[in-house]
């Protein structure tokens, strides 16, 4: 209904993680700001459980588009369902996670509706009855705040982990509204043939801890040491572009402007100088640790804690200390 705030719940063929419900936290804050309701919507096949679970994270109403044609994410199919819902219920705000799925569907649905979109928002606030959306531009050297005065809903994709997770409360439940909307398979352009799971277990965008290496590692073996540290503290392994371009690690682990944007609670940069394009991808991390042998390296300006030294000496010491203190 008018003024309602809608959150898209993403899933992979019916599988969710708590992060799927992440935006119900900020969604609630915005709905309170508008004096309206927080709603969620899910598209897929066999998604009853997901719709119900959204209620436990604070949605008061959940719209579910459930049909065989929506098994497995396909941008065109999901965007059509989304545009249908927006057209029918006219929400004020629609939030998507700035993941591949969230961005794909938000961009396509916005285009179908001729709507504006703010992507990768890191700030959202209601101010004088309007939604103010803030995003980083130019490698995070600037933030730009926009309002959408013309189109409804106001669509934003939101950087993962930019806002706090909502508390789950099993006693809460939502009204689930089932929509019988389908699209004709023949009208769709794509078919997923297979999904090859990555050998890298940790998705950097969701990781709370990342140990990253740069050119300063000197060789691919340097990453073995970083992986060991990451394992001890339960983190993922990232890299600078220089390390990726040297062939020491795969490109899907690159952090920065032409790689991934990450926001872990702890980011440990080893042998990374801190170029603006690297900082663009990690400067909003909660705690940044820099290990670099050059005391003038720019990374120290962004660091919460810094150690000036050779990573080959520092990292094994950290592994030893962590193992001892964590009883591993």
């Amino acid at each position: 209904m008018a003024n309602d705030v809608w959150v898209y719940i993403e899933h992979k063929e019916g599988a969710v993680t708590p992060m799927s419900f992440e935006l119900l936290g900020i969604g609630k804050t915005l709905a309170d700001g508008f004096g309206s309701n927080l709603c969620a919507f899910v598209v897929g096949e066999g998604i009853d459980a997901i719709a119900k679970e959204a209620g436990t994270y604070g949605a008061s109403k959940v719209f579910a588009v459930d049909a065989g044609v929506f098994k497995g994410f396909r941008a065109d199919a999901y965007a059509k369902a989304t545009a249908f819902l927006f057209d029918k219920y006219k929400p004020e705000v629609a939030l998507f996670r700035a993941t591949s799925q969230g961005t794909d569907i938000a961009a396509a649905a916005a285009a179908q509706l001729g709507s504006g979109i703010c992507s990768d928002a890191i700030g959202l606030a209601v101010d004088g009855g309007k939604l103010k959306m803030t995003k980083a531009a130019f490698g995070g050297n600037y933030t730009v705040t926009v309002v959408n005065e013309k189109s409804q809903p106001q669509i934003a994709t939101v950087r993962p982990k930019a806002f706090a997770m909502p508390e789950q409360d099993a006693s809460k439940s939502a009204e689930v509204v089932k929509e019988s909307f389908v699209v004709d398979e023949a009208s769709l352009n794509t078919k997923v043939l297979e999904f090859i799971k990555s050998a890298v277990a940790i998705n950097l965008v969701e990781a709370d801890i990342i140990v990253s290496g740069g050119r300063g590692l000197g060789n691919a073996e340097g990453f073995d040491l970083l992986k060991e540290l990451a394992e001890v503290i339960g983190g993922g392994v990232g890299a600078s572009r220089a390390a990726v371009d040297s062939g020491w690690i795969t490109v899907d682990q690159q952090v920065g402007q032409t790689g991934k944007t990450v926001k872990p609670k702890i980011y440990i940069a080893c042998g990374i100088s801190g170029a603006i394009q690297h900082l663009a991808g990690m400067r909003t991390s909660d705690c940044i640790v820099a290990i670099n042998k050059d005391p003038d390296a720019p990374i120290f300006k962004a660091a919460t804690f810094g150690i000036v030294g050779d990573y080959k000496q520092v990292v094994p010491k950290l592994i030893e200390k962590f193992k001892g203190k964590l009883g591993k």
Binding site: I117, K135, T145
Partner: protein
Amino acid sequence: MKIVACVKQVPDTEAEVKWDIPGGKLKRDAMDCVTNAFDEYAIEEALLTRENHDGEIVAISMGPEKAMDVLRNCLALTVNEVKLCTDAAFEGSDTFATASVLAAAIKKVGDVDIVYCGKQSTDGNTGVVGAALASILGWSQLTYVSKIRSIDGAGKKIVVERAIEGGTEVVEAKLPAVVSVLKGINEPRLPNLMGIRKASKMEIPQWNAADLGVDTGKVGTAGASTKVVEIAVPPPRGAGEILKGEIEDMANTLTDKLIDLKVIK
């Protein structure tokens, strides 16, 4: 096969950013500009597709006159044709307007099989133009593409790999398709001297709003649904602490401090 590569001119990431604050826009004319890094992969993929499947490449850019430079670079890389979509009315376009202009240009080129775009621009960082373009054209939307597995021009089919969260998705799609590519899909080549020399003398054809049949009320600042209300410099990170002492002591202190954050289990 007819291939389009969409390219954008962006400020050099190292360059000083100059804003037109009241207008909420960049002063693009006053800044050092380069080809958007992701678009270099799009151009290269277009060249590779042409090598493997024949056909011709049209590189399209929307931007001010100055954006000619990036198209000239495309010509030096031997694309067959370039088109600069430029009009005072396009200035201040949001992503939907940009995609609308590019869609109009692609329709005007006609009979296009594949459109290559970069994943996102390094200035606006929106990463939605490729998807919006596919949606407006009603073509296959293939984003985050890390590899082209096969293209069947006669059968009007393409199979690509998409690098998404947790792994690689293999997707078969109908042509025409809009394919936005990631870093790593290829190694962009550099233009050679002869190419550069030839390109320097070539004419850059321009299309304005009237040529494209674009409604000027729906693009640019006039059509943008999002309006910039504030541009700010984010607060600097608090002064960090450089640990002192022997490695043994520094490692001891650091591990204590990190464990205190209660993130490590």
